[in-house]
Symmetry: C2
Amino acid sequence: MNSLYVIKIGGNIIDDPIQLESFLKDFSELEGYKILIHGGGKIATKLSKDLGISSELIEGRRVTDAESLKVVTMVYAGLINKNIVAGLQSNHCNAIGLAGADGNIIRATKRPLKTIADGRQIDYGFVGDLDDNSVDAQAIFKLVQAGFTPVFSAITHDGNGQLLNTNADTIASVIAVSMSGLYTTSLVYCFEKSGVLRDVDNEGSVIKNINPEEYKELKNEGVIHSGMIPKLDNAFDAISKGLNEVCIGKADALPELKDKIFGTRLKS
Amino acid sequence: MNSLYVIKIGGNIIDDPIQLESFLKDFSELEGYKILIHGGGKIATKLSKDLGISSELIEGRRVTDAESLKVVTMVYAGLINKNIVAGLQSNHCNAIGLAGADGNIIRATKRPLKTIADGRQIDYGFVGDLDDNSVDAQAIFKLVQAGFTPVFSAITHDGNGQLLNTNADTIASVIAVSMSGLYTTSLVYCFEKSGVLRDVDNEGSVIKNINPEEYKELKNEGVIHSGMIPKLDNAFDAISKGLNEVCIGKADALPELKDKIFGTRLKS
């Protein structure tokens, strides 16, 4: 099987033009098949503010009402996605920018109402959740084999004409797992840190490799805690579903991927 | 050769949700290979106004400054394009929404400075002009043959990372001519009228067929005049470059295309 990288970048890169330009160059130079998934960043928040749209926050999660959905569709699927594609094309990477509705590639389910502690029913609005069957791997395969490099924004659809806002980390994971039957697939999360750190204040303390047994130990020792636990739980879950590996590290270290020394590598 | 329809819709349909829904259903039911190109409509103008962005009008043409380019990229390539794609998918049409940067499919040249009558040099900003080599027909062919129905917004790029705002009528024409070596291609313009009218006040006076000789006569008689002349000049120019036919009519008459009784047909 050929190899495939599924690489996710977040707002910290998108919001920084110099970092983004450098990342797009590195991504373009990465050899082999690849897919990019990008998050949002601060542009949508600023645009909402400029337009006087204030969406509700419930238990730390932002509600995507109809007006907020328009904003994220404009910013993620339009402004950010097309500028990333134009940047990649200028680096001779044959990018094709997509949302989940395109080619019916990512079909999500609108999040059902949720009953919270005080008995209230919460409607998170136009938020789309994914399951193991949400991604049409064959459609992506056709695009990749035709020489295109898909670049996904985190806008999906329900198949009935409704666009939905979906978590970009989840999209990356579900795409990677779905592609793992067709390619030896590595999922790469670019985030603020150089990797999983033994000492959170020391960027030099990257733990180079972790397998499930070591993960258990690191949790028991308290080295891995709080926010990293759901992240790594998801990563090992994806590996158990057929993914080759998950790499977590800093975007500017992307050239190190080819030598397998990028950030932290999670393997089965 | 297989047949291909290249269909362009304008703002009058995009701004009317009921008309748009009905058009997307008719488009989906149209048999055979097809490509959709959409213009903008009033949403971008309203968004600019809401954001306090006022772009200059020079000799009736709007200057696309950096802020205006952001707005049209968000609205055309994001909001409108993805909602059209989701609508087509809900009608079981396997649409894939694209801007010209995607797959490097439409490469434009930034319009050069223009010296106007009073000697001033005018910069139209981030406006992209096309020529006969702007469209990568092979890239579109690959997508169409893979089962996708391309849906283009009127945002192009220069190949060096710069997005550009381009006239949607021109995009439709250049795409259609470029595809005419691969398919028997019909270009279809949907506009406000039922076709080229013998009497502009009578929607029943559609001239069914026009060839270049008849066009000359109709111009001499003064039946075709003012705004229709550049439109039809362009259409006959496209036909002379290999296009099978150009059809001009009302969007809601689209089902008549298959019986070749839609609006006005221009043929060589």
